[in-house]
Symmetry: D3
């Protein structure tokens, strides 16, 4: 039996006006579910990897719907913990042209944020795991979330399970007292792969602006020096030409080589939420399949580009479809 990939994080209900209406015009809101870490499991499970997602959810119809959604796409839900908190929400307004999309979060006091310490049996969960993935959102939710994440990662280290983390700079979280500067370094220190932009490097890990300005490779190398467990530092870049036309690319430092993909233009963007998670999933798929860093980076950015064309948080794509993009077919030709 193949070993499992474990992801840990909150899943929210996303509510968005179906067209380009502003929030205040909406009479109907489309419902999908998503969370950065779960999105990674969903994409990987679709490609045949055994994945389990760990989270807490309210024990009501919508909390159960989240579990059904994960199962629908093949993610193991046995570690979901049903409790009495609420389901985190976010509202998404779709922009167009020169008007950007907007998000209103309503996620405080969620079931996951309110978990008790030792809610999850990490020894058991990580026992048969081949990978563990986390993001900077989880430790920002509550002290107990940070505690459980740290505990999970320590156990992963003990069991030899490699760990990836996504720590993009995000303001607006960290409301419970702790600061990212206190919490994140300890987590990075337990990770092998990290996705991190320069803003986060400066804000969270104290890299000097001039180091970041010098080159991504140098900045990443500095980060690695600070956190010796780190083997790969990844980053995706986005040039926003308009709300509906972006150019994305990815880059990477693996301690030896600087790698960078060509940019891919997506026009029009159908839904960019989850594009970073699609990158992560793509990179992990290719890496776990034994491909080179360059191939994995390329597969990841193609997965991310494809995600922009799919409504909802989840990357829906076959490996073949991403490969065809990777092979250079961006023509969008009709397939009969």
């Amino acid at each position: 039996m193949m070993k499992r990939i474990i992801t840990f994080g909150e899943i929210m209900m996303r509510l968005s006006p179906p067209t380009n209406e502003r929030f205040g015009q909406a009479r109907h809101l489309e419902v999908v579910y998503g969370g950065s870490e779960a999105n990674v499991s969903l994409a990987l499970a679709q490609w045949g990897w055994p994945c389990a997602h760990v989270s807490a959810l309210p024990d009501h119809a919508f909390g159960q719907a989240v579990g059904q959604y994960l199962r629908q796409h093949g993610v193991d839900t046995q570690y979901l913990c049903y409790t009495n908190g609420r389901l985190g929400l976010y509202f998404l307004e779709k922009g167009a042209a020169l008007r950007g999309s907007q998000v209103i979060y309503d996620r405080y006091h969620s079931a996951l944020a309110q978990i008790e310490k030792y809610s999850f049996d990490w020894e058991n969960i990580l026992h048969q795991a081949q990978w563990f993935h986390w993001t900077g959102i989880t430790p920002a939710l509550s002290e107990n979330c940070a505690y459980e994440l740290r505990r999970a990662m320590a156990i992963a280290q003990k069991l030899g399970v490699p760990v990836s983390g996504d720590v993009y700079f995000r303001s607006g979280l960290w409301q419970y007292g702790a600061s990212p500067q206190e919490v994140l370094p300890e987590l990075i220190a337990l990770s092998q792969v990290v996705v991190c932009d320069e803003k986060a490097m400066q804000a969270y890990f104290g890299l000097a602006p001039e180091v970041c300005r010098a080159s991504f490779a140098e900045a990443a190398q500095n980060l690695m020096a600070q956190f010796p467990s780190l083997q790969k530092v990844l980053d995706t870049q986005r040039v926003s030409l308009s709300a509906t036309c972006n150019r994305i690319s990815a880059r990477m430092w693996n301690g030896n080589t600087y790698l960078e993909t060509l940019p891919l233009e997506i026009n029009p963007i159908i839904d960019r939420v989850g594009a970073g998670d699609a990158f992560m999933a793509g990179f992990l798929h290719a890496t776990l399949s034994g491909q080179s860093d360059a191939e994995a980076l390329h597969f990841g950015i193609c997965a991310s580009a494809w995600k922009h064309t799919i409504p909802g948080d989840m990357l829906l794509a076959s490996v073949e479809e991403i490969k065809s993009l990777q092979a250079g077919d961006t023509s969008g030709t009709l397939k009969r």
Copy 2:
């Protein structure tokens, strides 16, 4: 200038699957706004009464949409207080036949629940008022809500503004520490009109079950004995033949006479949320128009019946339409 009617209470976003889907099947949720007290103002403002609603709302697009919704229907929104809390939500699943509708509340930590004491300038708000209306939901939200409501009612008393309250039995609220038994009696003591079922009479005001069983008139008289300011005790009754067919009637004790309406059958029910508020609005409209208690009770129950045929929380009806129902035309004839 006519004096204003003041209502005070939370307004929530209501999210419901558009058809008879169960919660877990929903891909779209219909959005309307509503709150028991605001529903009363909305109905009365539509009939030409100057109304102002007092509440707190989050300062984001949906909070502003609530204000716009009140203004759309003519309710004065100058006392809405925009703060940093969240917008209370509730999810409504529409039943059918022998399957009842269901509500999931997600209202904790709302902007109103989190208001500071002395957030509202009640002296000013109630200065030109002819009526003040509250419900048992508001004091159940937080200590400060209970405090502000009590303060408002004391000022109303001082200014000679009559007060009505709606204190139906509702479990599931009162999470902040206080109990309804501690808080509600003081509020009833400051009210002239109260809508109250026997369950609430027993649970909140200690009436003996045998008194309630004896007759509504006797129970109401007991309540009045306990709270001398009370002049009218109202109650609506609902016989649920199925989720889509109900029979409703209203009854009243005014200290002298027991009044009771004939039942009205509504089949099919389009949306029963807000039917109690429509009753209250109808009763207040007729009472403030100088009609007798019997006429007001009848107008109230007709308004409530009509509400069952309207999607959303708000009673949309002209006075003429309710009067035609009151005159006995329940035939639903096409009007060209």
Copy 3:
């Protein structure tokens, strides 16, 4: 080649909120097309009768859509006259339970109302006709409409084409100066079959209330005495139990016999607009097929009942479906 059935009258765009929303709540309006006389042709053409509808329409995309709609269901559109007027509209609000549906008409200055005299070549149109059908709406639209209708009927008489008319009492039309009392008698005098309720008999043709009260047969016989060309007087009756539950029946006096159908209950009503036209179409189908008056009356009321279950103005039904209703199967059993 079978001879044609000719109908003459306005076709309007109908705009209605898709669910039970009140007009003011509507964000979308459903579009269908319909007109009393065209509805008769549409139903008959569906059953294989060659039908042509005569009307005038604006020469824009929606006017053309009306023609396409007629052609779609097999009605000959060669006599539609495209001019510069507007397309008549009406708005339909769907009631429920004790709240009736409502119609707002916006039909003045329509293309048909503004036709010139001698716009239609009736000699040619009626040359190969086996039946001509009109309603009391057409002469109410404008002087020229009344003129053209009278002219058509005189030519029908000359050519020996039998004529049916539907002259239910309808207030709110007749805005151009003439009164129904001036215009309708001359039209009835040229008809062989008329659908007419007692209200119209009194208001338009001066029947004494006591005659109408005595019996339908007596009233109809009086009408026949006044208009010797008349051979059959028909009437449908509707008991409105609620906006969504009606009982309908039909009755008839043919100069010899009084015939009356058993009532059919429709619950729930999906769309009752066009139910009278469906009755007319059903009666004509059965009559032209050589069935007895009793059979035709029964087929007509079954067609009308079936129409209540179909969204839109048009009766969509096979002859077999109506016959199965006529045979007593009102059970609504699933057909696999």
Copy 4:
């Protein structure tokens, strides 16, 4: 580990106009998936029973969506066989009042109908099974389907797995050459529980009409005499008052006692497709939970009644919800 319940049969895409439109009016068709046997697994899996469904599906996006749908609701899909055939379809037109619903099947040449013999490894599938359920649809699809079903049942017998079958009379299948009279007796002979109406008893198993007329118990006893393995004969009855109002009840002969439930009226019906499967699932749940035949029959008919209120083929209900119906609460009261 609990032993599994195994179901075997075709799953189709169901396409239906969203409202009461006739087929020809539809511009959109709602998509759900369903199949009589899979519906049983879906309901049971939702209640916590380990279920696996066996079928063949086309290897394209919609075939995969069927698998996702089963997994979403907890049904084990490891025995689904993806092949090159097509996905069976059926179109459903929703009737109303006196107009019945209609189904158009388009299921020939489906992936399941085209399976090869020995496509399924029944020894393995049934190894850990506690129940096997089939219906009369599967052997009607193709010779190989009948062959595989017979093979499965023989193995079930060998392994001591009890078997239930649903053999209602259905015309319009059996197009491949064999007749139900040839095939079904052998299958019944391998079953312990059968759902069977009198029409099927006469048509398929040669029971004399007078025996059926005498009483259900006598007819069932005759069937049991013919097929000694049979222990329980079940039947549901439906009185169709209209397309939207039915009364259902269930009855049973267990060799000793005749049991019959009181009728339940469902008004309005939201969706009656799958109501028989819900009955079966309810009966099996209660039986496997160790309840008496009378309790199981009652639980089954309540599950069936509840299904009528849910859009789609699947019974969505908690055990508690069905129990509350069983306890007599058919009032459809709002649950807050």
Copy 5:
């Protein structure tokens, strides 16, 4: 109390197919309300300016919905006059790529077109006004509309209320007998700010083509020479690259300086109706806020560009959003 901005003009119901369907394909039409002058008030009221709109509307549910819509967004509706005319309509077909959008007007005989002279108490309306805005549409509707507009402007002049007018060239109006050449000059003579393209300058005010060709500044200066009250002549320009991609800019002559903005490209356009009104509202907002002509022109064109991204006639935007565009952020970046 801040003085009010007064706008005067017709408000229509706009009906448009929801997607890119052609008119004839539409089964549903989206309903919004809009009118050039009201759109200006709606945008300004949203930014906190006290605005009142003057118009006449039919006294039915849709006429009342128009009033509710204005109130929803904070426009004072006390001067709306409810009468018996009809609600003007227009149908909008949304083009795409090389297929342009299309409008079918159905606005004749509207309530406003049919007003009596002296329907509005302009002395009272303009008493506390700080601005009056009109467009060339209103005097084109009927003689009485032109009369009332002239009367309003004369009173504005008397009261010292500055006046802006929007007189773009529009064919297809002016059906009541008068010509724009007769009516508009007198109105411009009473205005201080005018939005006017070269086509209108030539067609309505007799400017020589060669003057217009020379430069906008020269043409505007000529116009000012002709109408000495004029202080600012504005114009927006649109380069239509396709139905879904336009480039817009604005220019202005204030008697001293020629000002011109850089072009803004909008791709894709969501809804361009009301873009000119958004420009006017933006320009007035900035001007009344004390900004320079250059700043006001820039704010106006940014407001207009933003409008292209919003469904419906109304500009929904905060001042901050427009300012961010003005500051050069056209990247449409996601805002969390």
Copy 6:
């Protein structure tokens, strides 16, 4: 009376998710009908040409809806043959940006594929015809379809009716045994106009790759040499920049001259299905109107470009609209 244009081929139901959802996400599917040959008739009938389409359809509600759809747009349906087969289906997933659209066909065993030989009375059908059009799809459906097509073309030749065929390369058909190489040459040999790409020239008619590479003119000339009846060889070319932005052009060899249009860019594409049929219809319209080859080619490609902006299979456009595109107006300007 003008002579008719005859088309022959299958019409399918097309089912597609309404937005950019992937197949598996769809809960609703939009329904339109279309078929390559019928699309040509539909476009031409809209422009006033008498057209009749020949096909076979299932005798159920959806089969009848196809006939109604043809009649709606003026196509003569008297030669449609209603039989017992099924309605061919195809599913269309709309791509965006770099994700192409996808089609899943489900057309086997359709009514047309299952027709008997001599099902159509071609002598009668082609008697008054001025043109016959076929495509390479029809002979690929079944042996009898190929037989009937060959028979029709032989009779056309006998009656002097010119013939056009569209034989683009399409894999995935030809499942019944015959190969295109066996069947198509005989059909081309009976045609005067053919639309054919180089892939088909090589695959079906054995042209050497180097001839095709040399020039289209040379390849076409080779084809003409092989099939002497051929007078014009047409081809459209598509550059797919993305799923939503294409550039199309057309070219032609008429035995004397090589003609080629400038490319037209369509961005965004609303629906490209039927664009080739729109080209064919446009070319035939112009040719039959007596225009030159160059004009006809230009009109054809403009019709094809316009089609890309219309949802559904059918080109909805007036001749004037196409002409305005032909005249160079690709600006998509709003038409009031």
